[in-house]
């Protein structure tokens, strides 16, 4: 129970409460190294068994109105699993998450429909977010120019580079004022100019009473856009607090002295 430990917290308005969240994946695999020991047993007796991967091991914290949260941690630490659960896309195996609105997740990869043009993906994404046809049609040009893809919007999305498709997907998601938006490394592949534009848009969303979660390995982005940082390591909450302090501790942990 990480809630209400300080008296001052009582007066703040919570927007997200994560209460002892646990995520376990069940994977059907032998779990043995292919290069070690005997992999025998033949075709019929491969000894596949249901293995459990404990990705998030009881994380609790509360997010208050007006905060924007940076989430940091090594690869495989459970950040993305936790964010996907926060968005309601991955079911929790234990604990619970409460929020004042349905959070939207913007993650890496996952092009909508690769064989369709960028423009059609904009329309589809907009409809899925709950815009009607007219509203989203009116936004197409804005979204395209925000993404800086005016010359490519007619081409199928499979022809886009990783950075281009990340830009388009961010621009689609950012066209709506989300109450809670989770950005999971989606900006890592964008170029500097686009990064500045999207960070400005995130600050704007926060000013419109939205809450932003930013998962990133760029400590500079985290310090520039977040008011609080949560460090998750091996599925557990390691540190929680001021961006400069936590990122400094994290940099020390990973043995890096650079800021970015």
């Amino acid at each position: 129970m990480a809630v209400a430990t300080k008296v001052t917290q009582e007066t703040r308005v919570p927007v997200v409460v994560i209460d002892n969240a646990e995520i376990t994946y069940k994977v059907f695999a032998s779990g043995r190294r292919a290069t070690r020991g005997n992999s025998g047993g033949g075709l019929l007796f491969k000894k596949l068994k249901l293995q459990e991967v404990h990705a998030v091991k009881g994380v609790s914290f509360t997010v208050y109105e007006g905060e924007s949260i940076g989430i940091i941690g090594s690869n495989g630490s459970g950040k993305s699993s936790l964010m996907s659960a926060l968005a309601g896309l991955t079911p929790l195996t234990g604990g619970a998450i409460y929020a004042n609105a349905r959070p939207s997740l913007l993650g890496v990869g996952g092009i909508l429909l690769p064989n369709l043009s960028g423009e059609k993906n904009i329309l589809l994404g907009g409809l899925a977010m709950g815009f009607n046809k007219k509203e989203i049609a009116a936004k197409v040009d804005d979204i395209t120019s925000f993404a800086g893809l005016q010359d490519f919007v007619g081409l199928p999305m499979r022809t886009y580079s990783q950075g281009m498709s990340a830009r388009l997907r961010f621009s689609i998601a950012a066209s709506k004022d989300h109450e809670i938006l989770i950005i999971d490394e989606a900006l890592a592949v964008g170029d500097q100019e686009f990064r500045n534009r999207s960070e400005a848009r995130m600050r704007e969303m926060r000013e419109n009473a939205g809450t932003v979660f930013l998962v990133s390995h760029s400590m500079k982005s985290i310090i520039d856009t977040c008011t609080r940082v949560i460090w998750i390591e091996k599925g557990e909450l390691r540190m929680d607090g001021d961006p400069k302090k936590i990122t400094a501790a994290y940099n020390k942990f990973v043995g890096s002295t650079t800021v970015d």
Binding site: V3, A4, V27, A85, G88, L89, P91, I97, L113, L124
Partner: protein, 282 residues
């Protein structure tokens, strides 16, 4: 105060909890445009890479029906159903509408994991979109069917219009099937490998290319089993309005309506009750 009481007292709601049935239906209806747009774009994208493009929607089933006509026509010989070509085309086109919804519906969630993992929307829109796209594919095939009917039977009949309510019922039936299959394959992924065989078996036991009365005696167990099959009823009913020489049996409307609505209601509730489990990270 526990975290739950604290959260609820500030008006927060549990994330990922399945919405109530009525709210779910309302959300689905309000985003129905997404399903339709996905269906029409999906069809377009599927044909974009071949030279003949959307013509394949007509060509493939026509070639298929013609091939069956040749092979089964030879095998069945004198046991061919009366008025064979209209009988066969009606059967093949409508059956492919059902089997397409059934087998593509089975992949509605598992083949769209990109969409499911990146956007939140009522997942039932995915099987709905599959059935919509199958319906869009069926429409041009009906033109081919009309050409076959006119050239063989030399007449146009008002009774053909009965196909409209029939296809409406088939839509409901197919949507139900697609929802059931979409959920089952999420739990038992291996089933997706068996889907082609199931639809093949359905093809042989639905009287697509043979008339049950001509092959089996009415008392035989096969004849009894086949007449229990709702697909057989749908095809029979369609033929009775399209193909000359097949008497109308209005009581079959009751049978197919009961089937359609039961499969639909069961399918919807079955699909909705696992809503929060789709999009698992596996």
């Amino acid at each position: 105060m526990s975290a739950e009481e604290y959260a609820l007292s500030h008006g927060l709601k549990k994330v990922g909890a399945r919405p109530g049935l009525l709210k779910y239906i309302a959300e689905t209806v309000s985003r129905i445009n997404f399903a339709y747009t996905l269906a029409s774009y999906g069809n377009e994208a599927a044909n974009a890479k071949s030279r003949l493009g959307s013509w394949w929607n007509i060509l493939l089933p026509t070639i298929q029906a013609a091939t069956y006509g040749l092979i089964f026509g030879l095998i069945l010989g004198a046991n061919k159903p009366d008025n064979f070509l209209p009988f066969l085309f009606t059967g093949v086109f409508l059956f492919s509408y059902i089997s397409g919804s059934f087998s593509l519906g089975a992949g509605a969630i598992i083949s769209n994991s990109g969409l499911v993992k990146s956007l939140s929307f009522p997942r039932v829109l995915l099987p709905l979109s599959i059935v919509m796209s199958q319906t869009l594919n069926l429409l041009p095939q009906l033109l081919v069917l009309a050409v076959v009917l006119i050239s063989v039977q030399q007449t146009i009949s008002w009774t053909w219009l009965m196909l409209v309510p029939l296809i409406a019922l088939l839509f409901i039936f197919n949507f139900g099937l697609a929802m059931i299959m979409a959920r089952i394959t999420v739990h038992v992924r291996d089933l997706n490998k068996l889907v082609p065989f199931i639809s093949r078996i359905l093809f042989y036991v639905s009287g697509v290319f043979f008339s049950v009365e001509k092959i089996f005696s009415p008392e035989s167990i096969f004849a009894q089993l086949i007449t229990l099959n709702p697909i057989y009823d749908f095809l029979n009913l369609a033929r009775s309005y399209l193909v000359e020489g097949y008497p109308q049996q209005p009581e079959q409307w009751i049978t197919v309506s009961i089937w359609s609505f039961s499969v639909f209601v069961i399918g919807f509730v079955f699909f909705w009750s696992a809503e929060e489990r789709y999009g698992r990270g596996d």
